[in-house]
C-alpha cells in the first residue's frame, strides 16, 4: 500500500484535514502549526509554530471492527518505543498518553468513521517550559528533557513505526505485553478516573485482552472504557 505524505504550513487540525478531504489511505499529513489543535472530547492541543510534531495518519478501516480500540494502545506503544530509543524513560499512561517523569509529552487521538481510520499524534519537541504553561496536566517537551532530535529524523521514525504498528494490529498480531512492559498503570496502581458522569477512584488490576482497564472500586470490579485516568501517589 503506497503512502502519500502531505506537509502543510498551517492547518486547523491535521485530523480535521483528513476527515474533510477526499484522500485515499495511506495518507500522512503534517503541519508546522495547528490553529485548532485538538485533544480528547473538545480539549485543546498546544500547537505553536515549529515547536511540535503535529501529524495524522489516514488508514483503511480494518475488517475486525469489534476490537478496533486496540489501535490506541498499539500506536502509543509504537511511538513510545521510538522515543525510548533516544532516552529510555518514556511510559504509557492508559490508554495512549506518553509521559516522561510524570509529565505528558505526547497525545494520540484516533477517530473512526465508516470509511476512515484517522490517528492524530502530537509530540512536544522544542517547546520551552513557558510555552507549555497552563496545560490541564503537567507537560514537557524533548527540549526541556534535554533530548536533541532533528525534526526530520523523528518524523520519519514515527511514520515507519506507526505504519508498521497499524498493519500488525489490523492482522491481530499486536502483543499487549509490549504495552505492559512500558505501562505506567500496573497492577495495584491507585488510579482516579474522570468521566463525564463523575469521578471515581480505585485500584488497577490490569488490562483485559480487549485493552480495557480493569479497576476495583469499593470492592466492585469495573471495566473502564474511557475517561481521563490519573495516577494517585
Amino acid at each position: 500500500m503506497n503512502t502519500k505524505i502531505i506537509n502543510l504550513e498551517s492547518v486547523d487540525s491535521t485530523n480535521e484535514f483528513l476527515k474533510r478531504e477526499n484522500l485515499s489511505p495511506i495518507t500522512v499529513v503534517t503541519a508546522k502549526i495547528q490553529t485548532q489543535g485538538k485533544g480528547r472530547r473538545g480539549k485543546r492541543w498546544i500547537s505553536h509554530s515549529d515547536k511540535g510534531l503535529y501529524i495524522s495518519f489516514l488508514f483503511p478501516v480494518p475488517e475486525k471492527i469489534p476490537n478496533i480500540q486496540i489501535i490506541s494502545i498499539s500506536t502509543a506503544t509504537a511511538v513510545a518505543k521510538v522515543l525510548n530509543e533516544f532516552k529510555s524513560e518514556f511510559l504509557i499512561k492508559w490508554p495512549n498518553d506518553i509521559l516522561i517523569k510524570g509529565k505528558k509529552i505526547c497525545g494520540i487521538l484516533p477517530e473512526l468513521t465508516k470509511e476512515k481510520l484517522i490517528i492524530g499524534i502530537g509530540i512536544n519537541l522544542y517547546h520551552s517550559e513557558k510555552e507549555l504553561q497552563g496545560t490541564e496536566t503537567p507537560a514537557t517537551s524533548l527540549a526541556i528533557e534535554k533530548i536533541e532530535v532533528p525534526r526530520e529524523k523523528i518524523t520519519n521514525f514515527i511514520i515507519e513505526a506507526v505504519k508498521n504498528s497499524f498493519f500488525k494490529t489490523a492482522n491481530g498480531k499486536f502483543d499487549l505485553s509490549d504495552y505492559e512492559k512500558i505501562a505506567l498503570i500496573k497492577q495495584n496502581t491507585h488510579v482516579e478516573i474522570k468521566e463525564e458522569t463523575g469521578t471515581v477512584s480505585g485500584i488497577a488490576l490490569g488490562i483485559d485482552r480487549e485493552g480495557f482497564l480493569i479497576v476495583e472500586i469499593n470492592g466492585k470490579i469495573k471495566r473502564v472504557f474511557s475517561g481521563d485516568v490519573s495516577v494517585r501517589v
Partner: protein, 150 residues
Amino acid sequence: MIDKIEKLLKSLESSSIEELEIEIDDLKVKAKYYRQKPTETLIVEKISETPVQQTAIQKNIPEQNKIASENIHIVKSPIVGTFYRAPSPGTEPFVKEGDFVENGQTLCIIEALKVMNEIESDAPGRIVKILVKDGQPVEFDQPLFEIEKV
C-alpha cells in the same frame, strides 16, 4: 482472592469477552463465556411494546411484528465503549428525538480507549427513540437508536 475472582467473572458476564485465564501463584482459573448475539426476535419484542391491545398481540403476533420491524430501524453499537450524544461536553447533541436524519449522518460517538467512533445512520428517517443516556457504557450490538423509516 476467590472473592475477587468471582466478582471479576461476574462483572464480565455481560461483556463481549469469550475466554479468560487467570493465574495467581498456584491458582489457575480458566473461564469460557458462551455468547449469544441478540437476535432479530429480541429487537422485535422491544418494538412490540408500543401500546396495542393484549388480545390483538396474542392473535396477530407475526403480523404486528412484521409491521413494526418493517418501519422501525434499529441502529446498534458496533463496539463496546462510552456513548456520547455530542461532539464534546457542553456542545449541541448530534441528534434529538424527532429529528429527521439522512443516511450517513453522524448520530453519536462511542469512545473506547480514546478511539472516537462516529456512528452514522444507515437509514434515512425520523429518530423515534434514543435508547442510551449520554455518558453511559454500551455493549457490542446494543441498540442505540430507533429510526422510523420514511
